[in-house]
Amino acid sequence: MTRKNVWVAGLATPVIAMLLLLAGSPSVTANDQPSAANAEVKIDNFSFGPQTLTVPVGATVTWTNRDDIPHTVVSTDGVFKSKVRDTDEKFSYTFAKAGTYPYYCSVHPKMTGKVVVQ
């Protein structure tokens, strides 16, 4: 009896932990990468780097403008849109769903990039 109870308690702990995790962050599923997977895009010389960024679902991407000229980060499909970002200003967006998100700078539309969320 004693041995069995210990075994059940040992199994239950991670299950409860996972249930708690699911309750706090509904978009996270059991197959996900860690939700803390954040990524950065640097804006240098009128270009986004990396131009294509691949992140797990739930990741927060932060863009930093390192140019002397203001830029924006605007989703081509209207999913996200930053205010104008001057030198060293940042913009962040958390991607809750898988998919491909093309974006551009609405001030300098030749500047384009893509976030792939999987």
């Binding site: 104008v84 030749k110 384009t112």
Partner: protein, 379 residues
Amino acid sequence: MLTENKWFGEGKIQGRRLRYEGQPQNVWPVPFEFDGNKNDSRQLSTQNATNHGGQVTDKKQDFIDQKLQDLNNDGIDRRGFLKCMAWAGTGLVWTMSGGIPVSRAFAKSMDRHAGKVGDFSFVQISDSHMGFNKPANPDVVATLQAAVDKINGLAQPPEFLLHTGDISHLSKQEQFDNVDQILKSASAKDVFFVPGEHDVLDDNGKSYLERYGKSAQGAGWYSFDKKGVHFIGLVNVMNLKAGGLGSLGGEQLEWMEKDVKHLKHSTPIVVFAHIPLWSVYPEWGWGTQDSAQALAYLKKFGSVTVLNGHIHQTMQKVEGNVTFHTAMSTAFPQPQPGKADSPGPMKVPAEQLRTLLGITDVNYVRGQHSLAVVDSTLG
């Protein structure tokens, strides 16, 4: 149809021959003929002219001198400044040095002693980027003020000013306020604006329109007439699409077609907009994707002058009856197309800065086919 533009990079003028051609009644008779450019368009930048001026060979210089003597009734040493200028087409002139009349038509029009003053002149300023404070120019207030001082010192006071956009750096009210305040000290009281992309950030152009576009159409386009010349201010910085260039849009094009329909073919036309209406360097977004349609409406006119900003350097092209010209910024220079990693501000030594900033003086003489355009630097 527009023909393909070619950029003439450093060193490429040398070895090309100078040739007299065309319309001697109207033109400065020493145009550059660029081998390798098979179409009828020519394109140069101020920096190019500066870089290459000293490379004109002695033989070519002799030829230039001979030609110059034919014109030298006005006591102006053209040999000196020819080294830093290039003639690029019918009736339009271009120089690095401030205030020097550089074409025969222009010399006459500017020479008050001869009693021949042009019918009127106006000045284009551009890209004042009020609020910019980075190392390329930490004091854009001072350089805009220097531009106004330059305007106030012109031999023939301009009737009005055109500002071809990027008035502000970040579309902020205090930045617009600053520019308006400085421009109040200009001798010319009327200023006609078109927006640059920096003037319509975040609010879709609302504050720009409230301030500058109350009597304008749509996103801020309009036209007006001055002494027989029809001016058209266009907006090509709104609703830019990913991967694309400047854009006029269907509504504006429709308006423009109607606007010019009733005009006589002999009416001189001046079109001004922020982003070049010709394909300067699409890789950097220096062009307007639907400009060909706008230019098609202007085909019937004998004289069309297109004035743009955005690229912070002078460049020009002549295409049939259309002369394209871009102005310097009053704030900071930008690199020649493709000559840097990006079109960002060009950092130059402080003492050089004002030699790369400037204004554009445009002179209209009734009966002359084209308008004379002269760029003057601030230093």
